[in-house]
Amino acid sequence: MIKISGLKFGYFDTEVLKGLDIEVREGEILALLGPNGSGKTTLLKLLSKILEPRGGTILIMGKDIKQYSYNELAKTVSMVPQIHRATQPYTVFDVVLMGRNPQMGSMFPKESDIKIALSILEELGIAYLKDRPYTDISGGELRLVLIARALAQESKIMLFDEPTAFLDFKNASLVLQKISELKEKKGKTIVVTLHDPNEALQVSDRILLMKKGEIVAIGTPDNVLSQENLKYVYGIDVEKVSVNGKTFIYAK
């Protein structure tokens, strides 16, 4: 689905990504885990063409990302940003409808666009918000609206940048559950950056552990989140426990 080889990126003299080779498989959830500054968000921005790589290639569905127009890419890859400053009081419905932008040929949404936006709002359980100004809703609701907007793009690949950041426990769990459902029910291929290893364990098929722009480990959650790896990446000792077949990690 996505094949990254020798990917490099940097700002001026600082190297942010130092030659990454990653493959994202169709229909999987790949979690990017690592401390602040490890290059997770940068990687997502390169995958959505917000940033241009310094070296290496990114193939998306077999085609070099450089050969995609912005419009074409937006039909294949959608992004849910971590920080979104809502400045204009558009209605929630309008914001979700703007996710139809890549498919819309004009400024006038077609009937099918409106139907898709409405059904996504229903699906995510936020249809009751549709006429509210989106500047005027809670952080958890805003995150769901942004997920709805990305879903409206109907892309095969979805990128989530720290979808649980700034959310309370309930909303964070809800968002993670929705992400799992997107894979299960809609067959989306998902790349998600996370901060909490437990969230990565809960949601991902594979985990990519990063530190300072390099890959520390990539593979199944159990293999990647070993005590040694986590000690190396975060510099702390952790303990792993299993409860009812589920693994949890906590700092010692």
């Binding site: 921005k45 959505s48 063409k49 917000i50 912005y70 419009n71 074409e72 890419l73 937006a74 039909k75 890859v77 959608s78 992004m79 940003p81 979104h84 400053r85 400045t87 204009q88 009081p89 558009y90 419905f93 309008d94 703007m98 996710g99 932008n101 890549p102 819309m104 004009s106 400024m107 009937e111 409106i114 139907k115 409405l118 549709k130 006429d131 907007r149 990305a150 793009q153």
Partner: protein, 340 residues
Amino acid sequence: MEKHSSTQNSGDYIKTPKEKRFLSVLVLAIAINIIFAVISICVGRFSISLQNIFLFFLGRLKGVEQSVILDVRLPRVIGALLIGATLSQTGAIYQGIFNNPLVSSYILGVSSGAGFGAALGILISSNMAVVEALAFAFGILAVLLTLSASRIKNDSITLVLAGFVIGSLFQSFTSFLKYVADPFSKLPQIVFWLMGSLTQISLKDVYIFAPILLLFLIVVSFFGWKLNILSFGDEEAISLGENPKALKRTIIVITTLQTAIVVSLGGVIGWVGLIVPHLVRFVVGYDNRYVLPLSALFGGAFLLLIDTISRTVFPSEIPIGILTAIVGAPFFIVLIRKKP
């Protein structure tokens, strides 16, 4: 149950409440423009009856009255409508691009550049065409300088700062020209030009510029949706399939041409681009698909009203830029206080 839905089972298109509201406001705006235009043609030192306006448009009016309408009133009415519409619409566009409610299309230095060009034109020639041409050329030049000055760091804040710097530079050039200008003939002309006035708009100006300005107004009205997408910021615009840099460049090129034309015709008229878009948003909300066309219509009506007042209410004509500010400032304060 589905209040917002625009669809029904048969597939017929039902307008949403927002669209209905937009259409009714649109009809109202067009009606206001027509009414104001008729009133403005009627009133003045030389009154013209409604019947004669009717006869004029049928091509059956002759003599002095025909000449007053054709050579004096009509160019001015059309000028006011188009200049007001352009200033207001470009103001709305810039507020969208820069995500800043306090900017107008003068922010990149076009008005200061045009002011300098006009002052230079007045000094070296007594031909209005030269003045207009120089105002236009220097207006464009100032924006080009702003764009190249901001290229070091390609973001909106740098662009606004560069616009401020280049604008100030041209203002000091203008001050220098005022300082050296003949204080009895040229200086008053420069000062009056800078205050904005629609007196000098001729029928020829209308023939040349009205089609261009009208075309631009229509084209720009269709940028509303993209402007909505841009308001999310560059990164999200990219992930929604737009190329924000190319889009902004296109919009800045078009709006600079628009603003340079209207400033070279009517001088520096402030406030229109600030108050009218805010008023429109107050009525129809923030969707730029509606804000852009309505800003144009209400901007035209607003400037026509002010211009008609400026030439009829006072014993001698007041420069229009003064009146837009006197009306605009308190109006703006009321608007801010009422904002939810």
